[in-house]
Amino acid sequence: MSGSTDRPPVRVVLAKLGLDGHDRGLKVVARMLRDGGMEVVYLGLRQTTDTIIDAVEQEDADVVGISMLNAGHLTLGPRMVEALADAGLDVPVVIGGIVPDEDLPAMANAGVAGVLGPGATAEEVVACVRAAADARG
């Protein structure tokens, strides 16, 4: 609030999409992003594209982060990107979790802005989300 020149923190909506009950990774990522100076709007488990869109819209989020450990990324990743576009929201999607290397081109083609796998460091996570936010402008 000290002036209009410094940029406000990046706002990230973090969620698990669909029926996947493992949110430990998401909590770790939330902490990494917070410690990277970002504001994390944490939605947690069992979200739908609709609940995520509500949150992105109302929170004026810069990035959506979804976590996938159940091999749903090929279906749900593109569906999330499309749903945001349909809602008129120009907000990049970053996917974290288990995404096999051979699926990476498909993710990029679908418009997913970034993919973070196991072993990504806190610096990598923050840099990836920041890059997605910056690319949006």
Binding site: S2, S4, Y42
Partner: protein, 330 residues
């Protein structure tokens, strides 16, 4: 602004971000919001409510009391009753990194589905900034047609309590297992409450909490402390209502909704609603004056050379120069 008024949620969200960010653009948005809200509103002579002014409800209480869950079920109930509630949920930023984890939506999925507008907000380190930003954000939500506008803060810091207290109705949520009545006295939350919810009241020690709370309120009555200006009575202290709730089952939520409505009606009936809002307006002006003076003094002081005199004397001289003749009026 037109889109916000038209009920476009994305536009409301963008305006909230602008006001939250502060600076010249925020001031401009805030000024235009004010003009739109006050320019063409017809004032109801009896209630003092403007056609497009919302019931502002502050909700505070210790961490883990169930504020978010309770606000979620309460606002969902209000939607069922035909209202359009919005919630501004304030959580602390990390003082070290400036980041924050805003978790209120986790407990508010039901309310989101019902159509309640929820905005999470981090304190962003600047205590003064919060006091500047929140009233402006509340007005953006009013402009968008939301009523009531609920401001939820954790009741652990004077600023957070003050922010939630800048409301028409202040709800304090307490819960069993948070210490006895002596703790409740310490917390400093008793004085600001218009209304209490004893949440998690299905717990065995809930009756004890309620009894302790009532005792503390008896003592407030006795000493006269905790009396709020512009209360629902003009001839004495009006004792805050106490409602027992179980947010997770929805028990007591109807009573809570009735009690908040009754409080607003009570203020309007005795004519203190207008006075309360005028107090709030003055407090907001004061926050802005503090902020402007702070910024000015920072600039002036950073240019001083050490050793020009005793700090207090130098300060007095500077202050006299900054505010001109105004300091004599205080």
């Amino acid at each position: 602004m037109a889109a916000t008024r038209g009920g476009e949620r994305w536009a409301t969200a963008r305006l909230l971000s602008l006001v939250e960010r502060g600076g010249p653009l925020a001031d401009e948005v805030a000024e235009r919001t004010w003009a739109l809200l006050h320019g063409d509103a017809t004032v109801d002579a009896i209630s003092g409510r403007r056609a497009n002014r919302a019931h502002v409800v502050g909700v505070t209480g210790p961490p883990g009391a169930g504020k978010s869950t309770l606000v979620a079920v309460w606002t969902t109930r209000l939607v069922e009753r035909g209202h359009r509630p919005a919630v501004l949920a304030v959580d602390p930023s990390s003082p070290l990194t400036g980041g924050a984890i805003l978790g209120d939506r986790v407990r508010m999925a039901e309310a989101t589905a019902a159509g309640v507008f929820i905005r999470s907000m981090a304190t962003r380190g600047h205590a003064g900034g919060l006091a500047l930003a929140v009233p402006g954000m509340v007005r953006v939500l009013e402009l968008a047609g939301f009523d009531p506008v609920v401001v939820e803060t954790v009741g652990v810091g004077q600023v957070e309590v003050d922010v939630a207290s800048a409301a028409d109705t202040v709800l304090v949520v307490v819960t069993p297992g948070m210490g006895d009545a002596v703790q409740a006295n310490k917390a400093g939350l008793l004085e600001v409450a218009d209304l209490f919810a004893v949440n998690k009241s299905d717990r065995p020690d809930a009756a004890g909490v309620r009894r302790d709370l009532e005792l503390m309120l008896d003592l407030s009555d006795l000493t006269g402390h905790g009396r709020r200006r512009h209360d629902t009575r003009t001839d004495g202290w009006s004792r805050p209502a106490v409602v027992s709730t179980v947010a997770t089952t929805g028990a007591g939520v109807d009573e809570l909704a009735d009690a908040t409505d009754a409080h607003l009606a009570g203020l309007a009936a005795v004519g203190t609603l207008v006075a309360r809002r005028e107090d709030r307006w003055r407090a907001e002006v004061r926050s802005h004056v503090d902020h402007l003076l702070l910024e000015t003094s920072r600039g002036v002081v950073s240019g001083l050379s050490v050793g020009t005199g005793a700090p207090a004397a130098v300060a007095r001289e500077l202050a006299a120069g900054l505010v001109g003749g105004a300091e004599g009026d205080r």
